[in-house]
Amino acid sequence: MGPHSSPRHLDKTTLGFFLVQVLTGLSSAASLFLVAAGLSLIFGVTRVVNFAHGSFYMLGAYFGLTLVALFGDWFGRGHLSFWSAILCAALVVGAIGALVEMTILRRIYRSPELFQLVATFGVILVIQDLALWGWGPEDKLGPRAPDLRGAVFILGQPLPRYDLVLIAAGPVVLGLLWLLLNRTRFGILVRAATIDREMVGALGVNQAWLFTGVFFLGSFLAGLGGALQLPKGGADLLMDFTVLAGAFVVVVVGGMGSITGAFLAAVLIGQLQAWGVLLLPQSTLVMMFLVMAVVLVVRPFGLLGRPELVGHGRQMLDDPLRPTSWRFKGLVLLLVLGLAAAPLYLGTYGLVLLIDILILALFATALHAIIGPGGLVSFGHAAFFGGGAYAAALLVKYAGTPMALNLVLAPPAAALLAIVIGWFCVRLSGVYFAMLTLAFAQIVWSVVFQWGEVTGGDDGILGLWRAPWVRGRIAYYYLVLGCCVAGILALRHGLSSPFGYALRAGRDSPLRAEAIGIDVRRQQWAAFTLSGAFAGLAGGLYAYSKGSVFPNEMAIVRSFDGIIMVFFGGVQHLSGPLAGAAALTWLKDSLLRLEMWRLLLGLAVIAIVILFPQGIAGFLKQRFGRFVGIRSELSS
């Protein structure tokens, strides 16, 4: 296949080439497997999907870097020094994981899934800033392993010598894990707790220590994965999200809770990456997409997964929606009037902030529709927000269409994306849904990021000029206000209609909803699409507000903004997203001036998860709801 192979040598060269390709795939599977195995173990016992798992992987790489250098100075640069540094890095990460479990997660095991995901996301933010602070912003080259430089030749084809270590690492760790889980008391307790943790407790086992132990083990594996890949990949600040999306795909394909499944899936994905890069560099992500599609259609719970492991998350209690009281309607009207008068009393800066808040409130309301009434936590809504923004930008760049048309077309474009992604995701629920949506959003982000010829890549797309009639800031503010108020009211109306009833019925009791003739999945798919469309509208408005689009609008962090707003606002309340948007914008605006704003935001988020399990709107409602006639039944 290579351009230099002459016909005479074709056979041997081709064979060698194939072999090396397979081995390369196997070596790239190692880290993915280690991270996914840890994720799976932790989920099996604690039922928490640890979104910070990618961060532990990143920490493994950074600590590996530091310790290899340190041990090198102390003990020389021999085998023992290098490998014990790698192992120690993994142990340090394991200890950090145990610490996170003891200080944060232990308090929220009984909380709804959303809260747990939000808390682990807070941990991601904290670790990002700590890593930046500790190791600096620039990408680090990994150290070479002693005596493993250069390449071995297989039938004349070169294979980096270190790849042999990685190829061996996967099966070795799989074997050791098997021994641990089947031949030790700790392992037997872990397996028992994966099946029925309450019963394990009733038999006298202190679950707290079991959970901490599993968290240590899982984090250790992630750290080991990060440290082991150092000589090949080095360390950088983006690797947490990169590996997280990959690990989610592996876990979903392999089957949640199955270590062997994770191994098989990692090997499969590793092979795909090795061959995909070769055949069509841009196709790796598409192929990953296709594999996931095939597996999910044939085996919805993954290659070796089991259905009963899914859907253990606690449902959030939800007030029945009541017709809005007149007093509350009056309050909303007052708020809208106050917003309409904003240009009279706000300066330019305030108005810019308010435009952001309104757009984010629309985004949050759209996301809330699927999280609250839909009961599905989407961690990938940035794909639709960014999808709408990019749809408008691409139309400007390639078709030169006017603003009004682009804003009209942004929602359907985002909806189209939501239709495709939703088709896969609504097959699953609970944490699976969250993981899949995150993985898909990351795939969409990568396509935009990498496909520079079309999307401008990292440089984004500039030059989204507003139409003359809204060129001024105040005029655009009114356009945004109109669109957002209309959008939020439309969503609210939709959720109070039979469509919304059916959606909530499917969330609260899927079986009974099916029994009375509601196609739950179709209902969720439709809601997901609708939600995507409104997120797309928000994205389009945002693009024209800034005049440019960058891949950031699609990044995981943007999805997380949405989650945080919904969470701040309280999942149970339709009015929550607005409060959440205002809170987040205010928080970010005040924190962004500080150096470690991510760390502070992360800590704030974690604190709120632990202190205000009902969100801000829920808290306000419980406190002051009586005055506006929406007192909650649950709070009494």
């Binding site: 037997i188 099946i195 309450e198 407790g201 009733a202 038999l203 086992v205």
Partner: protein
């Protein structure tokens, strides 16, 4: 003699609904006490209340002189209270031996010490199956395993929730014999039972529960002879 287990003014709620109201109950060391009552009367809830799982409870629950009402389930188990749930809840993917391993706790003063060999003597069926996943055994075998697994914790008091439910008559007889052996080893047993005949064979005393209240307490013999109580609270 001081009771081993003593409940005073105990109430309990499950999923927000109040199930038990102001109950008093006591059990002496070495005694087998039956809780009888119709389906939904609150028998299982009472057992879970003692164990501290799935319920919100209030009142005073003293075990061996210590108030356990605020302790988590694992701490209560470690004091020597063994729990055999109604649904058995064996670990289906784990082999019989592994299931027993999960239940293993260090020996305890004042309680018989169990080994797998000793348990296989009481439940001979389990021995041949020891390497089989528990999920692939029959209901009767799972019930035996559930009891054996709890005994691995060397308890002084065993809470047996509906031990005869859904079992073939011949297995029910084996169960009754097993409970008799536990008693002869000096274990105390609190069991819930709908099957009055089973309770009559194994229990010394009985409490009748209805709608979360105790309606009768006395000797097992007394209950069997008291047709009025049986008609009012037990017959279906």
């Amino acid at each position: 003699m001081k009771p081993l287990l003593e409940l005073a003014g105990v109430s309990a709620a499950y999923l927000g609904a109040k199930i038990l109201f102001d109950l008093d109950l006591s059990l002496a060391d070495g005694e087998v006490v039956a809780l009888v009552g119709r389906n939904g009367a609150g028998k299982s809830t009472l057992i879970k209340t003692v164990m501290g799982i799935q319920v919100r409870r209030s009142g005073s629950i003293r075990y061996d002189g210590q108030d356990i009402v605020r302790l988590p389930a694992h701490a209560i188990a470690r004091l020597g209270v063994g729990y055999v749930p109604e649904e058995r809840r064996v670990f289906g993917d784990l082999t019989i031996l592994e299931n027993l391993e999960v239940g293993r706790q260090p020996p305890r003063q004042g309680a018989p010490v169990w080994t797998t060999e000793a348990l296989f003597e009481i439940f001979p069926n389990l021995e041949e199956l020891r390497h089989r996943p528990a999920g692939q055994t029959s209901g009767g075998e799972q019930q035996m395993l559930a009891i054996a697994r709890t005994l691995m914790g060397n308890p002084r008091l065993v809470l047996l929730d509906e031990p005869s439910e859904g079992l073939a008559p011949v297995i029910v007889e084996q169960m009754a014999a097993a409970v008799g052996k536990l008693k002869s080893q000096g274990l105390s047993v609190l069991l819930s039972e709908q099957n009055l005949r089973f309770a009559g064979v194994v229990a010394d005393r009985a409490y009748v529960i209805e709608s979360g209240h105790i309606r009768f307490s006395g000797s097992m013999q007394g209950l069997i002879e008291n047709a009025d109580v049986r008609r009012a609270h037990l017959s279906v």
